[in-house]
């Protein structure tokens, strides 16, 4: 059997804990990082990974999480800048093969996708979905949407 893929999830809020629970159930080896220890309560009772309390914007904390061994890292904190910092460190310094970051600000998303950081922007996704649903509900197609 090949060893389980090693995943680091940064941030254990609603999004991070959900992703971590899911991946842990799928048999991945998961480490969750959060500044606030009480956030780990959001993890499911069958979560089998590790939890590390610490500020992910510090290299020593990332090293403690063995970032150099990670197969992928998902940055989900509610601070765009922390996510972008960790994502760049993971990609440029530790050569983590797959790096994903949540970024709320669409303008930052644009800039960082140019730098090769793969981002997910909830604002864009929600806007697209809303507009799609409007069209499906029979509202006239919005003018600037072709």
């Amino acid at each position: 059997m090949t060893p389980a893929e090693y995943v680091i999830v940064v941030g254990c809020g609603r999004l991070g804990s959900r992703v971590a629970n899911f991946l842990s159930r799928r048999g991945k080896s998961v480490v969750v990082l959060d500044k606030d220890e009480s956030r780990f309560q959001a993890l499911a009772s069958d979560f089998s990974g590790f939890k590390i309390q610490g500020d992910a914007a510090r290299i020593s904390v990332l090293k403690q999480a063995k970032i150099e061994k990670a197969d992928f890292i998902i940055c989900t904190t509610h601070e765009d800048n922390v996510n972008l910092f960790v994502a760049q460190v993971a990609k440029k310094m530790f050569n983590v093969p797959l790096v994903l970051a949540r970024v709320y600000d669409p303008q930052k998303e644009e800039l960082y996708s140019k730098l090769g950081i793969r981002t997910v922007c909830p604002t864009d996704i929600a806007a697209d979905r809303f507009l799609e649903m409007l069209v499906f509900s029979g509202v006239e197609p919005l003018e600037n949407k072709e």
Binding site: I59, F85, V89, K108
Partner: protein, 220 residues
């Protein structure tokens, strides 16, 4: 030259004042509304309130015309993003970050952002100052509990000419080695210290200060 400083707190104020006094045009970006009111009263500078890690804030602050940007917030992740937006979005090639965690100096450089760490600079200054006094901290051992320190004996030190047994070192400290010219001596109680000797002092971390005082004299 047009300089933009992004940060907060007292160091932002003092640095801005300094740069203004050298004849440069300064724009300050600070996220704290009250600080901004104060800064605009006290500085002859353009003050913009907002989060400098948003390109919209930097644009409002006139980033497009800036020659040099310094990001000095207390959060390194913000400083990184500020400098990257400044460089990539506004073409401010001279964007410099002040990092808080000395380890991040290297990180920023690898990511292409010139950075310096004030902690690093201060610790270097202290080191140099001690070197100047002929005192070098060689290495902390035992998880930082034990210090090995090299001290150059000078003629104005009270221990000159005294045998080790007559020098009242504090408890938990010991002169382990005396280096005289090119000779290395493991001293005994009767060994006397001469001008120019270098001694290796072994102490616990908390006794180092008192041991140094005993060797170099009170007033230091």
């Amino acid at each position: 030259m047009k300089v933009m400083l992004v940060g907060e707190g007292k160091s932002l104020y003092y640095l801005s004042r300094d740069i203004i006094s050298k004849g440069h045009h300064v724009t300050v970006v600070d996220n704290e509304p009250e600080e901004c009111v104060q800064l605009s009263r006290e500085l002859n500078a353009t003050v913009v309130q907002g989060d400098g890690s948003y390109s919209a804030t930097l644009e409002d602050a006139g980033a497009i015309e800036i020659d040099v940007l310094l990001a000095m917030t207390p959060h390194d992740q913000d400083n990184l993003v500020i400098c990257q937006i400044a460089m990539l979005h506004f073409g401010i090639n001279r964007s410099i970050a002040m990092v808080n965690d000395p380890e991040n100096e290297e990180v920023f450089r690898k990511l292409g952002i010139p950075a310096f760490s004030t902690t690093g600079i201060i610790s270097e200054l202290i080191e140099q100052r001690l070197m100047f006094d002929g005192i070098t901290n060689l290495s902390p051992l035992g998880g930082g509990k034990v210090n090995i320190t090299e001290v150059q004996i000078r003629e104005d030190y009270p221990v000159i000419g005294k045998a080790l047994q007559d020098i009242s070192l504090p408890e938990n400290s010991l002169v382990g080695v005396v280096i005289r010219d090119h000779e290395t001596i493991i001293p005994r109680g009767g060994t006397a210290l001469c001008n120019g000797d270098r001694i290796i002092l072994i102490t616990l971390a908390e006794t180092l200060g008192r041991a140094l005082k005993a060797v170099t004299g009170e007033g230091r």
